[in-house]
Structure formats: structure tokens, C-alpha cells
Amino acid sequence: MSLERRAAMAALLAGRDDNLLVVPGLGSTAWDLAAAGDNDRNFYLWGAMGGAAMIGLGLALAQPKRRVAVITGDGEMLMGLGALATIGIQRPDNLAVIVFDNGVYCETGMQPSATQSGADLLKVAGACGIATCVDVRDEAGLADLAGRLKSLRGTLFARVPIEANEPPRVLPERDGVVLKQRFRTALGLKA
């Protein structure tokens, strides 16, 4: 079963509190996040493909009292697959890496990604030492994952199967300095 990506993002972030910090990947997950409602505690990526999970790791280590959700696509995760090994060593309690997996690069014309041919990101994450790997199969699984995001207890990896479609783009702020400063200000840091 595949879930609708915009509804999946909205379900994961419903009732979000100020201690949840969200880093989407470059591309569709950033538009999904913007569509779910803009928030100063979102750090949208318009580049840096392959870097979302590592930004999440640096942020989670720096903010142990807040929760960090990296919500990225299969193509973006595959580009930075080594990050799962790196995260598997650090294992901060407050980090979730969630992959919206549709097996295609939908931004660029629906070319198949490696997950369509058998690359199993859940198994990779588990083999890298991430103890909690959640295979979301349906709406109930999504609701369970949303609940886990409200009180993370250990590094979590989740795969969310989504439809291979491309909803209308919802474009967030794209000035990187503005995104950085508003994020830090929201955390009470000097901009």
C-alpha cells in the first residue's frame, strides 16, 4: 500500500509542538513540508542533496532536549547512504530519519531509484546499528509513527511508502540565510 505524500506529511506533523525541529530533503519532501504549514523550526533544503540526515545529526547532538525529524526522499537518502553508518555510531536519542519512499526520482521525470530494484533502506539502517526501524505499511502505521515523533526514545529510522506522484509544488522561503536565522531565533539563539 502506498500513502499520499501530502497527507502523510500532514499526519506526521499534526499537533506538532515547539520542540520538534524538521529538516526535509532537497526536492519533494521540502514542498510537502511547506504544504503542511510553514514553521520557523523547519530548515528547508533547496540543495545539499545527500546532506539532510547529517544536518539532522549535527542538530540533534546540539539540541538534546529537542526532537529532530529528518523527512527526506529515497533518492536523497541514497545519495548520502553513508550517513546511516555515521548515525548508527552516534545514535542520539532525539533523532528520527524518515524516508518517503516511492522508488522514483519524481522531481526529474520519474526515473527509477535503487529502492525500486531491491535496495532496502530499512535493512541498511538496521544493519548500521539503528535499533528502531519502522516499516510503515498503512494509515495506522503512520499514526503510530506520528505518536513516536512526540516522544523519541532512541534513534529511529522509518520508511513510509508513498505514491509516485507529483502534487503541485508549494515553495517555501529559499533564502538560506533567512532560513538559518529564523530557525536559530526560534530556538532562542543569537541570529
Binding site: 545527500g50 546532506g51 540533534a60 547532538l61 555515521t86 540565510v177 536559530r184 530556538l187
Partner: protein, 174 residues
């Protein structure tokens, strides 16, 4: 006073501590071994071994978003791995300090190190990084202090380049 060869990694560590560095990302390199050991032994520094250097550029950005200062240690061969990810630091003006041990420039036994080693400085300059090079042990501390001030004082990208002559010749035969 002239520094001993063994002392300069400790001066780098001392500079990191004065600057309040809390995260150190690195791809291991023999030239950085002493500094890595110091960081690993420090409970106030999170040492993050990376699978590739570009992960460290992203790590440092995340650290800064969360209010911590990070540095990235690598060998010259790692600079090429970072180029696209440096767009993150450039576009968002994230402070980023790279400390780079040089290969391929002085008494290098391995010719495979020369192509990347020979273009480290021009590539980094194209990526808007300020270059601070230390050629002798007693230059390391001053170079590190200037680079740290530039990075965290002015939110810049900078590279401390540690010359191969400073690090010493790699021994290939036992």
C-alpha cells in the same frame, strides 16, 4: 620558542577548546591521529567519525543551527568530496572550519595523492574559503586562532592547511 613536532596537534586542540568547539567531524588521517585522540578523550567534545568528508559539512551546518560550534578534519584528498556540499555553507553562510592535512606536495611516495593535493587551495578559494596555511610547527597555533576568529567571528568558511612538510614523511617500508 620553537614547537616540537609532537606538540602542534595539542596546540590545535587547545585552540578548539578556547573557541568552544563541541563537535568534531572527521575522516581519519594519520596526520590528524593525535588531534583525533585528544578530541575522543574529551567528554565535552562529540567526535563524529564520517564515512565521507561531505557529511561533515552538513554536520557542522546542523550543529550551528542548534547553537553548537563544529570543525571538520580531513586529508587533502577529502576536499574534492566536499565541493557540492560546500554550497550549503556558502548559500546559508554557515560558519565552517576545515582542518586539512596535506598529501601530494612534499616527498610524496604515492603519485595518486598528487592530482587532488595539487588543487586543494584553488578549489577551496573557488568555494569562497579563506586559506590559512601552517608550514612549521610554531605557526600552527597562530594560524588556527586566526582561522577560528574568521569562521566564528565573521561567519565565514575557512581552511587551515597543514603542510605535508609539517606533518612529516609517511613511512612506507617497515
Amino acid at each position: 620558542m620553537t614547537e616540537t613536532i609532537a606538540g602542534w596537534p595539542d596546540r590545535l586542540y587547545d585552540s578548539f577548546k578556547r573557541a568552544g568547539i563541541r563537535q568534531v567531524g572527521y575522516v581519519p588521517d594519520a596526520g590528524h591521529a593525535r588531534l583525533i585522540d585528544r578530541c575522543r578523550a574529551d567528554p565535552d567534545i562529540r567526535d563524529v567519525v564520517l564515512t565521507t568528508e561531505e557529511e561533515g559539512v552538513a554536520l557542522a551546518a546542523g550543529a550551528w543551527l542548534g547553537g553548537e560550534r563544529a570543525v571538520l578534519l580531513m586529508q587533502s584528498s577529502g576536499v574534492g568530496n566536499c565541493i557540492n556540499m560546500l554550497s550549503l555553507a556558502r548559500t546559508c553562510r554557515f560558519p565552517l572550519l576545515m582542518v586539512i592535512t596535506m598529501r601530494g606536495e612534499w616527498q610524496e611516495f604515492n603519485p595518486w595523492q598528487e592530482p587532488m593535493g595539487s588543487i586543494v587551495e584553488p578549489v577551496l578559494k573557488l568555494c569562497e574559503a579563506e586559506i590559512f596555511r601552517a608550514r612549521k610547527p610554531d605557526e600552527v597555533e597562530g594560524v588556527a586562532e586566526r582561522a577560528l576568529q574568521s569562521v566564528f567571528g565573521d561567519e565565514r568558511i575557512a581552511a587551515v592547511i597543514l603542510s605535508q612538510e609539517l606533518i612529516g614523511k609517511k613511512v612506507w617500508t617497515k
